[in-house]
Structure formats: structure tokens, C-alpha cells
């Protein structure tokens, strides 16, 4: 009695066919990445990496491929890789975006895809910038609930309409794509920047919060909302689709009318 044997050659060929069919989707991309390593040199250089990739993959997948297979020295931040942690904001083909939400096929992959760190913050290495000034501006607007008097024994109730008032600005993930797309912020790092104002807006227009006046006074500063020149770069850059400029304008109008 003979033991049935697996026909390896035909099995192998099927797997190979599948691999070849899959490979048919692959395209060759050139990722042009702005590299900087202060431990090696003060000079910044553009480095090209060429490899095949499925165009339905994301820019983050391409960066992973470079780091894991081509050049382990490439440095960038990423955490969740699904558009919610806000770690991988970078300038891709000249615009701020999240690498994990940008598909290769949407970037005209026939041409080299440029990837740079976000602008206006000090570059520490490759695509990593110093986020401290960004988070300091965020802390300065007191992004937490401020109330007076005794704490209620049950939850603070809010109508659906009152909740809707600041719904847009609750979506912020603090990726800094907006702040680092702002020409005012590039030239004056003291400007609070769109992200801090968005997060102030989230509490100023919250009916449960009582710190609105304090926050408005903070943003009435010469480096506050009045520096905004409505270039709309922040609104265009926001990966969460927040109407950032609209929120800033609402804070400006609240400062004039004191109604919020």
C-alpha cells in the first residue's frame, strides 16, 4: 500500500501563480525622504529608496518596508498606525498628512513621493520633531473641565444641542498637522497655533465648563487667536476633518461679543 503523497511540484506552482498574480499589482515607487542625523552630520540630505509595493498600501507601510528591510536607521514616530494616536504626522508631497491614512495610489506614485518632517518644530532626527512647544501651548489653554462650587452627586447633564455645539473640536488627536502647516507658526513659534485653539474651543463652548473667560483671556494675548491670518492650511491639513479655521474664528468672535 502506498502512502498518498502531495504533488509538491503542482502545489508549488499554484502558490507561485498566486504570488505572481499578487505581484502583478505591485508598482515600483521611489520614496524621497529628508534625512537628518545630528550624531553623524549637521547636513540634511534627501535619500531615495526604490522598491515594489502594492499601491493600495499606505505611506506608513512604505516607511516600515524601508526601516525593516532596506535601511534600519530611518527614524520616525508611529504608534497605533490607524489614524487615531496622532504620532505619524509628516509632510508628504508637500502637505501635512498622517502617513497611516495616506494611500500610495492617491499620491501620484509615478513620481518620487517626498516625505519630510513637519515644519516649524525643531527636527531631532529624520522625521522626528521636538513636540514640546506644541504640547506646552496645548497645556497653556487648560484643556480640562473647570467648574465652580460643589461637585454634583451625579453626572453633569447636557442637552444634545449643547453637546453638538463643540462636537467638531472634540475630534482632535493632537498630531500637530494643523499647527505645523500654519505660516504664522513657522515664523513665530510663540503663537499658540491652531491645535491649542481647537482644544480651547472644545471647552469654551462646553455648557458644563466655567473656565471659558479664563481661556479667552489667555487667547486674547498677542500670540493668541489674533495672529491667525485665515490661510486655511490648518483646515486643509487636519486628518480628522475638523474645520479648524472656523473654530478659531468662533473663538475670535467670542472674544469680541463675550457670548459663548
Amino acid at each position: 500500500m502506498s502512502t498518498p503523497t502531495l504533488d509538491k511540484s503542482s502545489g508549488h506552482s499554484e502558490a507561485l501563480d498566486a504570488a505572481e498574480a499578487a505581484a502583478g499589482h505591485l508598482i515600483t515607487v521611489t520614496m524621497r525622504i529628508r534625512r537628518f542625523n545630528p550624531e553623524v552630520s549637521d547636513a540634511v540630505e534627501w535619500v531615495d529608496y526604490q522598491f515594489p509595493i502594492d499601491p493600495k498600501e499606505r505611506v506608513l507601510d512604505a516607511l516600515h518596508k524601508i526601516k525593516w528591510e532596506l535601511d534600519g536607521t530611518l527614524t520616525f514616530r508611529r504608534s497605533c498606525a490607524h489614524g487615531i494616536c496622532g504620532s505619524d504626522a509628516m509632510r508628504i508631497n508637500g502637505r501635512n498628512r498622517l502617513a497611516c491614512k495616506t494611500l500610495i495610489k492617491d499620491l501620484n506614485p509615478e513620481k518620487p513621493i517626498t516625505v519630510e518632517p513637519i515644519k516649524g518644530l525643531t527636527v531631532l532626527k529624520d522625521l522626528i520633531v521636538d513636540m514640546d512647544p506644541f504640547f506646552q501651548a496645548y497645556r497653556d489653554v487648560m484643556p480640562f473641565l473647570i467648574t465652580k462650587g460643589n461637585e454634583p452627586t451625579r453626572e453633569r447633564l447636557q442637552s444634545a444641542e449643547d453637546r453638538e455645539r463643540f462636537d467638531d473640536t472634540t475630534k482632535c488627536i493632537l498630531c500637530a498637522a494643523c499647527t505645523s502647516s500654519c505660516p504664522v507658526f513657522w515664523n513665530d513659534g510663540q503663537y499658540f497655533g491652531p491645535a491649542a485653539i481647537v482644544n480651547a474651543h472644545r471647552f469654551i463652548f462646553d455648557s458644563r465648563d466655567e473656565g471659558g473667560e479664563q481661556r479667552l483671556e489667555i487667547l486674547n494675548d498677542k500670540d493668541g487667536v489674533w495672529r491667525c491670518r485665515t490661510t486655511f492650511n490648518c483646515t486643509d491639513a487636519c486628518p480628522r476633518g475638523i474645520e479648524v479655521t472656523k473654530a478659531i474664528q468662533e473663538v475670535k468672535r467670542a472674544l469680541i461679543t463675550r457670548r459663548f
Partner: protein, 126 residues
């Protein structure tokens, strides 16, 4: 450290750049205008000579550029006021910019004869 590539802003950013550029151009015009008008108190003859140069055709072309700058700055200024004070302004800023450019083109076509007619008569004869 070099600043990297130019940021690829959209309508909002480039309208802001154009607003700044036209603002500076208008400032330079006003600067020259104040100087040439002040010249009449220093030397009326020299004032006449300067104003005579303004009647030449290259200055007419510059005047057309001045009309372009002032019209864009004024119309886009109205758009910025709407963005500042109209609650739906930020939502419709792009549509407002295209409207501004549409009105600007119509007015620039309308300004061809009044501004450049004189230069055309100098260059090509009446």
C-alpha cells in the same frame, strides 16, 4: 538647517500670499505718490517733469498693474471680512475666492480701455 520644500498650500494660503504681495505693492505706490506730490512744494518745475513721465506708456502699464493689485486687495479684503464676521464664511471661503477672482477678471477687462487706452494711442497712433 534648510527649510525643506515649499509647503503646498491650497487656495486659502495662496490668496493670503497674494494679499500680502499686493498690499506691499500698494504701499510702495503710496510711498512714491506721497513723494511726487510733496515735490510740488519743493520745485514746481521738477514736479511737472515727474508728472510728464507718468504720461508715457510704460507707466500706463504699471498703472494697470496698480489697478490689478488694488482690485484684488480690495475684493479679497471683503472676502476676509466675510470669513471673520459671517459664521458660514470659513465654509464658503473657496467659493468666495473664486467669486473674487471672477469679479476681478471682469473689472480688469473693464479697466483695459480707461487705463491702457492712452498708452495704446501713444504706441500705435490714434
Amino acid at each position: 538647517m534648510p527649510a525643506g520644500t515649499l509647503y503646498r498650500g491650497r487656495e486659502g494660503m495662496w490668496s493670503w500670499v497674494a494679499h500680502r504681495v499686493t498690499g506691499v505693492l500698494i504701499f510702495f505706490f503710496l510711498f512714491v505718490h506721497v513723494l511726487d506730490t510733496a515735490l510740488v512744494r519743493v520745485s514746481p518745475e521738477d514736479y511737472d517733469k515727474v508728472v510728464a513721465t507718468y504720461k508715457t506708456w510704460p507707466v500706463s502699464l504699471l498703472e494697470y498693474g496698480l489697478v490689478a493689485a488694488i482690485l484684488f486687495h480690495a475684493l479679497n479684503g471683503l472676502r476676509i471680512i466675510a470669513v471673520d464676521f459671517w459664521s458660514k464664511g470659513p465654509k464658503y471661503q473657496k467659493q468666495m475666492l473664486w467669486s473674487v477672482l471672477g469679479v476681478w477678471i471682469v473689472l480688469m477687462i473693464g479697466a483695459i480701455y480707461p487705463v491702457l487706452g492712452h498708452a495704446a494711442r501713444i504706441l500705435f497712433g490714434s
